[in-house]
Amino acid sequence: MSRAENLVTTDWANDNLNTAGLVFVEVDEDTSAYDGGHLPGAVKISWRDDLRDAVKNDFIDKAGLEKLFSEKGIAVDDTIVLYGGNNNWFAAYAYWFFTLYGHEKIVLIDGGRKKWELDGRPLTTDTVTRPATTYTAKDADLSIRAFRDDTVAAIGTKNLIDVRSPGEFAGQLGAPAHLPQENAQRRGHVPGAINIPWSKAANEDGTFKSDAELTELYADAGFDDSKESIAYCRIGERSSHTWFVLSELLGKKNVKNYDGSWLEYGTLIGVPIELGEPAK
């Protein structure tokens, strides 16, 4: 995996809006953002309404994804061009999720919606419809998903990467500060986790830093290349951003995203928790 395979620029996206075989897909934290204007031809997928199971506290299953992609007009051979707001948080989550169900051709627009807007490129409110397909997904690839027991078992043995802000890591905040403080029952972090905020991997315009800068970032923070890794945040979207950096840009092996993240871990009974500032 490399940047050339998985990341495209806004220039490239602009030049390929009408290229056959590409399906532009917007996934935002603010699920109303698409409705106010989107890339020409892009379809909307809501992480909350489309990717989450309506009853079970989990994402949709294989059949659910097949139904969604079929309705959205996405074929197995299409290249999905993903982008979204908030520095691509939920676009990265969708990238991870679509990869988990075996879609092979996906690229992320570097900087996402934010970079597109800062570039002054056009947005449209036109309704986008695509002919339905019959999509067949693969079985879930759990080699890129960590569960709570995996995370507990990883203490002291794997790279545990807490990508939240230092305030959340230390237990001073229960959630990102743009949200009401929706908390797990306890604050803090998984013992032994290293705090490498997702934001350190990105420039102010939402684009990813260079491979050299990213490599130095993780090495300096104590990332051990000889170990398997689990990234977590609060609900799994920021850690998807870091999973993308580690797996898809830097080509690190055996990296899992713990999408249950702190909202689950911090509510478990009896698991160990640490408080305190990140190590300098």
Binding site: R48, L118, S165, Q172, H178, Q181
Partner: protein, 99 residues
């Protein structure tokens, strides 16, 4: 679950201002609001804490705690930032952006 809240200067009913610091204000270019600016909250070390997109009125809001904070706005028209020191309660901070 996580969902982007509406950016207004009217505090939502029931907002806790006793155990948190609410930092809110508007992004302005001169006297004019800057809609759609990307507004981020940085902690006392300059580290990213959160980001929102300003409303059509240029409004933004964060929920933080006691500390030293920087509110930084990025827009097509330029960037700007303001500092604020908080304990608990509501703090109003406008950010001026320019070329």
């Amino acid at each position: 679950m996580c969902a982007a809240p509406e950016q207004t200067l009217d505090l939502p009913p029931g907002t806790d201002t006793v155990t948190q610091a609410v930092i809110q204000g508007r992004v302005l270019a001169g006297a004019e609001p800057v809609a759609g600016a990307h507004v981020r909250l940085l902690d006392g070390t300059g580290e990213f804490t959160a980001e929102v997109v300003a409303s059509p009125e240029g409004s933004f809001r964060f929920y933080a705690g006691p500390g030293s904070w920087t509110v930084r706005a990025l827009s097509r028209g330029g960037s700007g930032q303001s500092d604020v020191a908080t304990r608990y309660g509501v703090y109003s901070v406008d950010v001026l952006v320019g070329a």
